[in-house]
């Protein structure tokens, strides 16, 4: 580089050298707008199919430029986490910073290389744009700024949950997962974009975004407070919930073009963490909040102390009604106690939930079997309303030949027996029929007992469905079962239980061709040539449960409307009989969180019925 000294006076002729520019070409560009660069931040496009209406873009927009617009033609699907909201962009505010692109969980909103938009003074409406796939002027410009792995603002990967080694857990019923530490929980909670899809998906509409936010802020009591607004079974749900919310979570979306690996927030584990780290006394105090001190003078009876019944009881008690719960078994909790093994849900946690519920004034009469100890009529006369929430405690049978043998048992019956002490002697080998979570529960429980008593696991699970997406049980259940030495045979249908001399020796299974017929009805087709034999001392049927409705009495059964073997109820849970409501598994199928939601629904309806 040539130095120029300060004292340099310059020359009058030097500038004239630039007359050479008469001979040089101008550098002016053409009048047409140039194509912008490959990562240009131009006008937005939005892929309507990818977009889920989570409104993260709206929240990150620093200029308040994004309005969420309801599009009726798009179908909402809460369980899949799809809303009919789509962003519309106000270019009178936008600053093209592309933060909306970088935060979009599904990479739906992106930017193009289009950058020219002009309008007449009275046409400012054209500044409010509803971006589609083709861009602001329908010109289909190439994509500009899109999300890359570098620019993605979201933390896609879940904090790993520690759990016991298979060897350590296989011979006992201790809880398998470790739970989060505070640090992990805060980190996990920090991933939440607060979209609320989980809240919509949750049957009980738990305020998940709110309690996740509270956990993130370290305010666990606040988090518990949020939970108790909608769910008195937070300990239970923190462990064994079917977490529909996590399936709907906007962070769980994977797309082959955009985000390759993305895991939903561990909402269930966060709930568990918050509940475990708040003292019982505090929780009780929180549960009292919102309880009225005015006695309504009405009384409600709840039959069945399961999640649905107790939730309804909890709500009604808080509203000032007198609530009596009738439970046939010695402890409350229903299926959560007698259907879920301890390694998934330790009993003390369940006890705690129930303690909190009773602390608001719910009275539970144990060991009272309605129909035998007390009649339905009597309950009706003593109370203004009755809730029937008896769950599904009868196991279904496959009705294959040999299934009437006494060594062929139902999973629910077994599960009920196992926590009641070590009286139960496990068979040396067992085959479980079924591919759901109950099948896994019984298989794993059985494996634990076998290990404890015989030091060897020999459990085979035979499921109709193929492993993979359509498999009924949760992935983690399957993988943990496999770790524990359980054999899972998928796509196998039971042929017959082989009985020799009145003793069960094993089960024959055949390969499954298809499960549903072309109308989508359950109608499995088997390939009988592919026959296998599994020797077993015990065959466990875990293919579904049904309700035991004998307690209702003949008159009531006739009076009620039925729908495919279940009591017919309306949206609010009330049956065709005025004073009777029904809730929980027996009307909605087995699921804790659904039962809780049902409980709320019924309680609300009863409350408005009683205070009418």
């Amino acid at each position: 580089m040539k130095k120029i000294d300060y004292r340099d006076k310059g020359s009058i002729l030097n500038p004239l050298k630039n007359l050479q520019f008469f001979a040089r070409k101008p550098i002016t560009e053409k009048l047409e707008p140039r194509p912008a660069s490959a990562s240009y931040r131009g006008f937005h496009i939005n892929d309507m199919d990818l977009c889920i209406g989570c409104s993260s873009c709206q929240k990150i927009c620093d200029n308040a430029a994004i309005t969420m617009v309801e599009v009726p033609s798009i179908k909402e699907d809460a369980a899949k986490g799809i809303r009919n909201l789509r962003p519309a962009i106000d270019y009178g505010r936008c600053c093209w910073c592309a933060l909306c692109v970088d935060i979009c969980p599904t990479s739906a909103i992106e930017m193009t290389r289009e950058y020219v938009h002009t309008c007449d003074g009275d046409d400012t409406d054209s500044y409010f744009v509803f971006p589609s796939e083709n861009g602001i002027h329908d010109l289909k410009f190439a994509k500009g700024w899109t999300k890359t792995e570098d620019s993605d603002l979201l933390d896609r990967i879940r904090r790993p949950m520690g759990e016991m080694k298979p060897e350590a857990r296989i011979n006992n019923f201790d809880e398998v997962v470790d739970g989060f530490t505070m640090e992990m929980a805060v980190e996990e909670a920090s991933r939440c974009v607060d979209c609320g899809l989980c809240e919509d998906a949750c049957p009980a509409h738990m305020h998940a975004p709110n309690y996740i936010r509270s956990i993130y802020e370290g305010n666990l009591e606040q988090a518990v407070e949020w939970m108790y607004e909608t769910n008195p079974f937070s300990h239970v749900c923190g462990r064994v919930c079917t977490h529909i919310c996590e399936d709907a979570c906007s962070l769980g979306r994977v797309d082959e073009n955009g985000v390759k690996n993305s895991q939903p927030i561990a909402i269930r584990w966060l709930k568990r963490f918050a509940m475990d780290n708040v003292s019982k006394a505090t929780i009780k105090h929180i549960a009292q909040k919102g309880k009225t001190h005015i006695k309504s003078g009405k009384s409600v009876a709840v039959i069945g102390a399961g999640p649905a019944g107790l939730t309804a009881a909890f709500d009604l008690a808080k509203k000032g009604h007198r609530v009596t719960v009738y439970e046939a078994l010695p402890k409350a909790g229903g299926m959560t106690r007698y259907g879920i093994p301890n390694y998934r849900l330790p009993e003390d946690r369940l006890d705690q939930d129930i303690e909190v519920i009773t602390s608001v004034g719910v009275k539970i009469n144990y060991n009272v079997r309605v129909g035998t100890d007390i009649s339905m009529q009597q309950i009706h006369q003593e109370n203004d309303a009755v809730i029937l929430a008896i769950g599904l405690h009868n196991g279904r049978s496959t009705r294959i030949s040999g299934s009437d043998n006494k060594a062929v048992v139902k999973a629910v019956d077994l599960l009920r027996m196992i926590p009641q002490g070590d009286k139960f002697i496990a068979p040396k080998s067992a085959v479980v029929i079924g591919g759901g979570n109950v099948a896994m529960d019984i298989a794993r429980s059985m494996a634990r007992l076998q290990m404890k008593q015989h030091n060897k696991v020999n459990v085979v699970v035979s499921a109709l469905e193929a492993l993979g997406n359509s498999f009924l049980a949760d992935d983690e259940e399957v993988s943990e079962s496999l770790e524990e030495g359980i054999t899972i045979l998928d796509s196998r249908g039971p042929k017959q239980c082989v009985i020799s001399k009145g003793r069960l020796t094993g089960l024959e299974t055949v390969n499954v061709l298809s499960i549903f017929d072309n109308k989508g009805r359950f109608s499995p087709k088997y390939d009988n040539s592919d026959l296998q034999y599994h020797p077993a001392e015990m065959v466990i049927e875990a293919i579904g449960q049904s309700a035991d409705i004998t307690l209702l009495g003949k008159d009531l059964i006739e009076e009620l409307d039925w729908d495919r073997g279940r009591i017919k109820i309306n949206d609010n849970g009330s049956t065709s009989v005025e004073w009777l409501w029904s809730a929980g598994d027996m009307v909605k199928g087995p699921d804790v969180i659904n039962a809780v939601a049902d409980g709320h629904r019924v309680a609300n309806d009863i409350d408005s019925y009683l205070t009418r």
Partner: protein, 295 residues
């Protein structure tokens, strides 16, 4: 020469001057564009500008004197045009001569001074005082050059001078020093850098033009076309032998105007006192040397 001929020449000469002047404005803008590495305005741009300015819907006048000032500014040049002989047309050149022409050339500045004074904008006042200072500065060498030329050609009539040059040799060859001094004066007269002190947007926000608008601004644009034309043709007549035909005269005139324009875009402007010092030093010295040669 009949009366009708005179009248038609009096009308035609400013008209031609205007058209040629427009071309010169275009040339100026194209030159600047080229040096600045760009394309520049379309061909008819100067005429669009002027028509647009005259066609403004609202016009702001700052009083009668303001109007008169602009009329004087344009009128001064129109007067100059008819004193400037061109091929085929002499107008009243033989009656006026170069002395009258020099006086006419001062009228526009004075007219502008009048008009701008009425605007009462301090920027305008500073601008016009600068313009008058500049006039003072370039008029000294200009008058010496005119005097020298008249002395050399032994005539104060431009027609006579042109005839002399066509008969003998071009003034630029016979009196090169005066011709160079004349170029300096020309640069000053056109108000181009480095002698552009009275427009100076960054300093006094375009000086005299600050309050001019609409047709008044249009007047100044018209004045500029005349100014360029006058400067080009006058210089060509004094030193480049005028022209026997338009084809002869116009290239010379354009060339003359192109020189200061090319320079203008490569230099900044002087300060006022520097301008006076430079213009009273070099061109005057050159002119005096030139004068010494011919005397």
């Amino acid at each position: 020469m009949s009366f009708v001929e005179i009248i038609s020449e009096l009308v035609l000469m400013p008209l031609i001057a205007f058209v040629v002047g427009l071309m010169m404005v275009l040339m100026m803008r194209k030159i600047s564009a080229r040096l600045q590495r760009r394309i520049g305005p379309p061909f008819f741009q100067p005429i669009y500008d002027i028509v647009k300015l005259y066609g403004k819907d609202t016009q702001v006048s700052h009083g009668l004197i303001h109007d008169i000032g602009i009329v004087m500014a344009v009128g001064g040049y129109i007067g100059a045009e008819i004193l400037l002989p061109v091929p085929g047309m002499e107008g009243i050149a033989d009656k006026g001569g170069i002395i009258t022409l020099s006086y006419f050339l001062m009228i526009p500045s004075l007219g502008m001074a009048l008009g701008v004074g009425q605007c009462a904008n301090p920027n305008g006042s500073i601008g016009i005082s600068r313009a008058l200072t500049a006039m003072l500065a370039y008029d000294i060498p200009f008058i010496i050059v005119v005097f020298g030329a008249a002395w050399h050609y032994e005539s104060t009539s431009l027609i006579g001078m042109i005839e002399y040059q066509q008969a003998n040799a071009w003034g630029i060859i016979e009196m090169p020093f005066l011709a160079i001094a004349g170029l300096f004066a020309l640069q000053g007269m056109l108000g181009k850098q480095p002698f552009e002190i009275y427009i100076a947007p960054a300093e006094i926000a375009t000086g005299p033009m600050v309050e001019m608008s609409g047709k008044y601004m249009g007047g100044l644009f018209v004045m500029q076309t005349f100014q360029l034309y006058t400067a080009g043709v006058l210089y060509a007549s004094l030193f480049l032998g005028g022209g026997e035909s338009w084809l002869d005269l116009l290239p010379k005139a354009f060339l003359v105007v192109a020189i200061p324009m090319s320079i203008a875009f490569l230099f900044p402007r002087y300060k006022t006192e520097d301008l006076i010092r430079i213009l009273w030093k070099w061109p005057v010295m050159l002119a005096l040397i030139g004068l010494a040669f011919i005397l």
